[in-house]
C-alpha cells in the first residue's frame, strides 16, 4: 500500500471479490476511550487529574503519581518521527492483504511515544500531525500525516477515513433541501456518482427537477416505508453503493399526552425506524460484503439524526422517540457492519431552517452547512458528528448531567 490509489475502475467480473477482513479488534476497556475521541475527531489522551502527566497507551492510573483518576484531554497533535519501518510481512490477514504498510514511532509533543500508521511523506526526523482515527474494525488508531499537504489519495489514510472521493453514494431522499445539498456536497468532494432517491413522485419539487438534470446524479424512486421499493432499488444499485446516507425524515410537533394520533407516530416510526431497518436489510448485507472491494469499496453508512434523538424534546416528543429508536438500531448496525469493515456514521444535527421547523427559534441550521459538515466528517473519518450549536450543546450537557437536560430541554 504505497503510492496513491489510482482512479476508480469498473469491476473485473472474472475476479473474486476480496473478502472483508478487519484489523485486530481486541482492545481493553481503557483503549475504547480512544474510540470516543476518534469518533468525534479529537486528539485527546489520558491526562492525570492531579499532576497532568499525559499517558499513552491508555491505562487506569497515573504512571507518575499513581493517582487513580485519568481524564481525556485534548493535547497537542504535533510530533516527530523517531523511527520508521515498512512492514512487509504480517500474520494478520487484514494487513497481509495490504502490505507493505508503513509504521512509525512518533515522539509526540504531548509527551508519550506513539506507534502510529505513517502516511506518505512521514519520514524519520520529520514533523508530523497526529490524529486519532477509526480503523476498519471501528477501533481507534493513531495515524501520522505530514504537517502540510497530506494527500487524500494516501492508501493507508483512506483505510481510516470514509472519503467520498471516487465512491458511489446513495442519498436516500435527494429531494429535500438537505438532500439536495448533500448531493452537491458529495459531488464537490469527488464522488464518482450520486444516487438520489425520491419518495413522492407526484411531489413537484423543483429540487427533483434539478436533480434529474444534474450530471453525475441518477434519480430513483425510493420510499423507505415501502419494503418492495427498497428491495427493488437494492437489487438495482445495491452492489454499487459505497456510502449510504439515510436522510429520510418526518418532523411533526407533538408529545405523548396532548395529541392522540397514531397515524403520525406510526409514520414517524415507519420512516425513522422501520425505514432504516428496511434499508439495513436490503443494502446492508451487500455493503458489508464489499467492505474490502478495492480502494473504493463500501465504507460508510451515514444516519442523519436529530440531536433530539439523544434526549427527548417534549415539544417534538414522539419525533424524538422515533429518532432514538433509530439511533439504537444504528448501534446494532454498527456492530453488524463492522464485520465487513463498513462504519456507521451518526450525524446529530440541530433543527434545520426548513418548513418543518417554522416554530423552532434560532439557531437553525442552513442545510448547506449540514451537508458540508457531513461530507467533511466523512473525509476525516468521524463516527459521531454533532452539527450546530444546538447539537453540540446537547452533547455537552448530556455528558455533564443527563438529568439536567432531561428536565429543562424545550424549544
Amino acid at each position: 500500500m504505497t503510492g496513491p490509489v489510482g482512479p476508480p475502475r469498473r469491476k473485473d467480473p472474472t475476479r473474486r471479490t476480496r473478502l472483508p477482513v478487519t484489523p485486530p479488534g481486541n482492545r481493553s476497556r481503557e483503549a475504547h476511550g480512544l474510540a470516543a475521541m476518534a469518533a468525534a475527531g479529537r486528539f485527546a489522551l489520558q491526562c492525570c487529574r492531579r499532576c497532568g502527566h499525559v499517558h499513552y497507551p491508555p491505562r487506569q492510573l497515573c504512571e507518575r503519581c499513581l493517582d487513580g483518576e485519568l481524564e481525556w484531554r485534548d493535547v497537542a497533535d504535533g510530533g516527530r518521527v523517531l523511527a520508521e519501518t515498512t512492514v512487509r510481512h504480517a500474520n494478520d490477514l487484514y494487513f497481509r492483504e495490504r502490505l507493505p504498510w508503513k509504521l512509525g514511532l512518533v515522539g509526540s509533543d504531548a509527551g508519550p511515544s506513539i506507534v502510529a500508521h505513517l502516511a506518505e511523506g512521514c519520514e524519520r526526523g520529520r514533523r508530523v500531525r497526529l490524529a486519532l482515527h477509526l480503523d476498519r474494525a471501528g477501533n481507534a488508531v493513531v495515524a501520522a500525516s505530514p504537517e502540510r499537504d497530506a494527500s487524500r489519495d494516501d492508501p493507508r489514510l483512506r483505510e481510516m477515513v470514509f472519503d467520498p472521493r471516487g465512491r458511489r453514494v446513495l442519498v436516500v431522499d435527494g429531494t429535500t433541501g438537505l438532500g439536495r445539498h448533500l448531493v452537491e456536497a458529495f459531488l464537490a468532494s469527488g464522488a464518482r456518482e450520486v444516487f438520489a432517491g425520491f419518495s413522492r413522485p407526484w411531489n413537484r419539487s423543483p429540487d427533483l427537477a434539478a436533480l434529474r438534470g444534474r450530471e453525475g446524479v441518477s434519480v430513483y424512486p425510493l420510499d423507505v416505508t415501502d419494503t418492495d421499493a427498497v428491495e427493488k432499488l437494492a437489487a438495482l444499485i445495491g452492489d454499487k453503493v459505497e456510502i449510504l446516507v439515510n436522510n429520510s425524515s418526518h418532523v411533526r410537533m407533538g408529545g405523548a399526552l396532548d395529541r392522540l394520533d397514531f397515524n403520525i407516530t406510526r409514520q414517524e416510526m415507519e420512516i425513522h425506524y422501520h425505514g432504516l431497518l428496511r434499508l439495513a436489510g436490503y443494502f446492508g448485507p451487500v455493503m458489508r460484503a464489499r467492505g474490502a472491494d478495492g480502494p473504493y469499496g463500501a465504507v460508510a453508512w451515514v444516519n442523519m439524526f436529530s440531536a433530539w434523538s439523544l434526549v427527548n424534546n417534549p415539544e417534538l416528543g414522539t419525533y424524538s422517540a422515533s429518532q432514538a429508536a433509530a439511533l439504537s438500531l444504528s448501534h446494532c448496525m454498527r456492530a453488524e457492519l463492522a464485520a465487513g469493515g463498513v462504519r456507521v456514521v451518526n450525524v446529530f444535527a440541530g433543527p434545520l431552517d426548513d418548513e418543518w421547523h417554522q416554530l423552532v427559534p434560532p439557531p437553525k441550521l442552513d442545510p448547506a452547512t449540514v451537508a458540508a459538515r457531513v461530507v467533511r466528517g466523512l473525509e476525516r473519518g468521524l463516527e459521531d458528528i454533532a452539527v450546530g450549536a444546538v447539537a453540540e450543546e446537547i452533547a455537552h450537557r448530556l455528558a455533564e448531567n443527563p438529568k439536567e437536560i432531561e428536565r429543562s430541554i424545550r424549544l
Binding site: D226, D228, N263
Partner: protein, 269 residues
C-alpha cells in the same frame, strides 16, 4: 331454481347467462400495490396510509406450508367505496357507514358517460349538466337509483405521477362540475358517482365555492362515491349492473373493494 316450485328462477337464469357468456363480468378494480396512489393533501393534515404489504410466510421457516401477507392501507385506497359518513355533510345521516348501509344498495345499475376525449384535451375537464343532457339525448335518461360513472380513461395513467398530475395549484384531474351533483341528486336520483381519478371530485375541487362538491352533496344526501375505477371503456352506456360491496368495517367511512360490473351482451340475432 325456485325453492318451492323447482322451476328455473331469476338466479338460475342469471347463472345460465354467466355460463353461456351472455352476461359478461367486467372487473372495474385496479390492482392494489405499494405504488397505488393515494390522495395528496397538504402535508400538515392527517394523511391516509398508502398500501403496504409484508410477507408473513412463504413456505419457509416462518411457515413451511403457508403463504400469506399482512397489508395495511387507508380506507380510501385504490378502487374504493366512499360511504356518506366520509364527509361532514353526511355525518348525522342514518345507515351511513360501511357496516350499516343496507346491502341492497351494493347492487345497482350504472350509466356510463364517455368523457375520455374531453379529459385527454383538458385534464381539468369538468362534466356539466349540459353535457349529461346531451348524452341523455342520444342514449336515454339516467334511470333512478343508478350510478353515474364518468369514463375518462384516466386509469390508463399507470404512472403515479401522471395519475395524480400535481401542479402548483393542486391536482389537475377531471371530475364533475359543481352544478352537476345537486342536479344528479334532485333530477336523476342517482345512487352515487363513480370516476377513474383518485377521488370522485375534480383535482381543482378544493378551490370550488363549495369545496369537494361531489363529496359534499352526494354524502350529504346519503349517496355514495366510487373513485379509482378502471375498464369503464368496456361498459355500455346503459345496462350495467354494478356490485360494489365494501368491507364491513365498523363505523367505516369506506373501503377498498372489488368493483364488478355485469354486462349483458347484445344479441347478435
Amino acid at each position: 331454481m325456485d325453492s318451492r316450485t323447482g322451476e328455473a328462477g331469476i338466479l338460475a337464469r342469471l347463472l345460465e347467462g354467466l355460463l353461456s357468456g351472455r352476461i359478461r363480468i367486467v372487473d372495474l378494480t385496479v390492482t392494489l400495490d405499494q405504488r397505488t396512489p393515494t390522495i395528496v393533501l397538504p402535508p400538515e393534515l392527517g394523511q391516509t396510509w398508502p398500501f403496504r404489504i409484508e410477507e408473513i410466510s412463504r413456505y419457509d421457516r416462518r411457515g413451511p406450508a403457508t403463504y400469506w401477507n399482512n397489508f395495511s392501507c387507508g380506507e380510501h385506497t385504490g378502487t374504493h367505496f366512499d360511504a356518506p359518513v366520509h364527509w361532514i355533510s353526511g355525518r348525522d345521516l342514518p345507515d351511513n357507514t360501511t357496516d350499516t348501509i343496507p346491502p341492497a344498495k351494493f347492487l345497482a345499475t350504472a350509466a356510463v358517460i364517455d368523457c375520455s376525449r374531453d379529459a385527454r384535451a383538458d385534464p381539468d375537464y369538468l362534466l356539466t349538466v349540459d353535457r349529461v343532457e346531451e348524452w341523455e339525448g342520444i342514449h336515454g335518461p339516467i334511470p333512478p337509483r343508478s350510478w353515474l360513472l364518468m369514463r375518462t380513461d384516466w386509469s390508463l395513467r399507470t404512472d403515479p405521477e401522471a395519475f395524480l398530475n400535481m401542479g402548483d395549484e393542486g391536482a389537475n384531474t377531471p371530475g364533475p362540475h359543481p352544478d352537476l351533483i345537486p342536479w344528479l341528486i334532485s333530477e336523476r336520483d342517482v345512487i352515487g358517482f363513480g370516476s377513474e381519478a383518485v377521488g370522485t371530485d375534480a383535482g381543482q375541487a378544493p378551490h370550488f365555492p363549495i369545496p369537494f362538491p361531489c363529496h359534499h352533496h352526494m354524502h350529504g344526501n346519503n349517496r355514495f362515491g366510487l373513485p379509482g375505477l378502471c375498464n369503464l371503456d368496456q361498459l355500455p352506456p346503459h345496462g350495467t349492473l354494478l356490485i360494489t360491496a365494501p368491507l364491513k368495517i365498523r363505523q367505516g367511512s369506506g373501503s377498498p373493494l372489488r368493483a364488478l360490473a355485469l354486462v349483458e351482451e347484445q344479441a347478435d340475432d
